[in-house]
């Protein structure tokens, strides 16, 4: 689905955002794209969307070069940025206008999603609150049924019930042909949705691994005392949340926040284990 080979990108050559980045992303998965502020999560999505061009190396998405912005490519991808401009049209009218550009767009599906989110499609988009706008755009994005869906911080601005709806509708939308990439800081919102997990660090990828692959190598638990081999620990309700190397093969439930902090604190070891 997505093949990135030795890709470098920079806004200023002295401080590269990506340096010889190589990775593959496959269809049928919901990728969680994590990383500290400023490591280039949005840049990564924008390169895949064809809004930015790699300076060196290649990025191929569904056998297209995104930067060429061919209609065949653009009709198979929907990019929903964190901040976006909306039309002065009613939400439903906007969907009716934009939808036909996407061959697999289904208006009924859009209407159903809007209903599920509790957004009035008869209201003008620019008059909606940020959360409502976001829900309307998520509904449109999902109803376009594109092979690749890029969502940048989709749960920002959503209220708690809407986050639940979001998880449900995204999980429902996922199928073997689609690849959904969600960039987020709100890892708890998407804990049971995203798999594999991609952690970006400055210049490169620190981790690109399925949840199963992670739990084979790491164990997550809450203990009363921090063990000596803990890669990372932090106090939480009932003791300490810890990440330790999985030496006994016992499976545990991934705590993405702990995983992320452990990865940041042990970059070299993570790079060695997971790449």
């Amino acid at each position: 689905m997505i093949a990135i080979e030795n890709m470098s990108f920079w806004y200023k050559e002295k401080s590269k955002v990506f340096d010889s980045l190589t990775m593959k992303l496959e269809p049928g998965k919901i990728y969680g794209l994590l990383g500290e502020n400023g490591v280039g999560k949005t840049t990564f999505l924008r390169i895949m969307a064809g809004l930015l061009f790699p300076k060196t190396g290649t990025c191929e998405v569904m056998d297209y070069t995104p930067g060429k912005r061919l209609p065949g490519f653009l009709s198979k991808i929907f990019y929903l940025p964190e901040e976006f401009m909306v039309s002065h049209q009613k939400a439903d009218d906007y969907a009716r206008n934009v939808g036909p550009f996407y061959p697999k767009f289904e208006y009924n599906q859009y209407a159903m999603l809007m209903q599920e989110f509790g957004v009035d499609g008869d209201k003008k988009l620019h008059e909606m609150s940020f959360g409502q706008k976001k829900k309307a755009m998520i509904s449109l994005a999902l109803a376009c049924n594109t092979e690749l869906l890029l969502l940048d911080e989709p749960t920002n601005g959503l209220d708690i019930p809407s986050k639940t709806v979001f998880r449900r509708v995204v999980a429902r939308a996922a199928d073997d042909n689609k690849c959904i990439i969600i960039s987020t800081h709100q890892v708890r919102d998407l804990e049971f949705l995203i798999d594999p997990i991609v952690i970006l660090e400055r210049n490169n990828v620190l981790l690109n691994q399925s949840v199963e692959g992670i739990t084979q190598k790491l164990k997550f638990s809450v203990v009363s005392e921090v063990p000596a081999n803990a890669l990372y620990s932090e106090p939480m309700m009932g003791g300490f949340g810890v990440v330790v190397p999985n030496t006994d093969g016992e499976e545990s439930k991934v705590n993405i926040e702990l995983l992320f902090n452990a990865a940041i604190a042990n970059r070299a070891r993570f790079a060695e284990w997971f790449n």
Binding site: R69, L74, S75, Y79, M85, S87, P100
Partner: protein, 236 residues
């Protein structure tokens, strides 16, 4: 799927953009109405459509800046760039709005003002432009608008200011290069020699015609071509 041109896609892009620009087009109508009303209230002698034509030409020239100002804005430009249509279709829509739709609206409003002038003040349509001059005027207007089109698709922010700056820099550079060539190759005496040999008999000579043709090809056709390439290479 045809990746370069599809008439249905082009129609959708034009329809989407026309809807998005409806406020600007309404502004032209309101502007014309306000102009007519102010002329009646202040001068009480008529609409002076000739003056309106001047303002209209200015609006035609700056239309790319007005309509497509946000086209490469990091946030506002995403919807436009991600719209599933080819660069050619987007450029044709861009050209169509600026070169056809806007002049057509301004032209229609101008004719309406003339009509009102005739019915209200009894003055018939009075245009002191010959048929041949029309094409020169039209090419001139579209040529200058072409610069605005290139500027719109070349600069991300402060488009009109940077375009003016670029024109100024280019003019100064061409002036300096011209002067330098004059001194270096003694072109001044070369031109005097040509004039003496009667190769440039008057202002309508072959040289002037040749320069005109080259200028017409560059302004606007060359600029339109440049704007197409600029549309392709922009990042946001």
């Amino acid at each position: 799927m045809n990746e370069t041109f599809n008439i249905q896609r082009l129609y959708r892009v034009v329809a989407t953009e026309t809807f998005a620009f409806r406020r600007y087009y309404l502004f032209y109508v309101i502007f014309a109405a306000a102009y007519a009303a102010s002329d009646i209230l202040i001068n009480r002698t008529g609409f002076h459509p000739g003056v309106f034509a001047g303002l209209g030409i200015f609006l035609i020239i700056i239309s790319p800046f007005m309509l497509y100002n946000d086209v490469f804005h990091k946030i506002k430009g995403v919807n436009y760039t991600m719209l599933p249509a080819s660069n050619l279709e987007k450029w044709i829509a861009f050209w169509f709005q600026n070169v056809i739709v806007v002049p057509l609206i301004i032209g229609l409003l101008w004719l309406i003002l003339w009509g009102l002038e005739y019915f209200l003040f009894g003055r018939p349509i009075d245009i002191h432009i010959g048929k041949e001059e029309w094409s020169t005027y039209l090419i001139g207007i579209l040529g200058i608008q072409g610069i605005a089109m290139v500027g719109t698709l070349s600069f991300r922010r402060l488009k009109w200011l940077k375009t003016l700056g670029a024109i100024f820099v280019l003019q100064v550079a061409s002036l300096l290069i011209g002067r330098l060539l004059m001194y270096q190759f003694d072109l001044k005496s070369f031109i005097i020699e040509i004039q003496a040999a009667n190769l440039i008999p008057d202002s309508s000579s072959w040289l002037i015609d040749y320069i005109k043709i080259v200028a017409y090809i560059i302004f606007p056709f060359g600029l339109w071509l440049v704007s197409f390439f600029k549309l392709q290479e922009q990042e946001l």
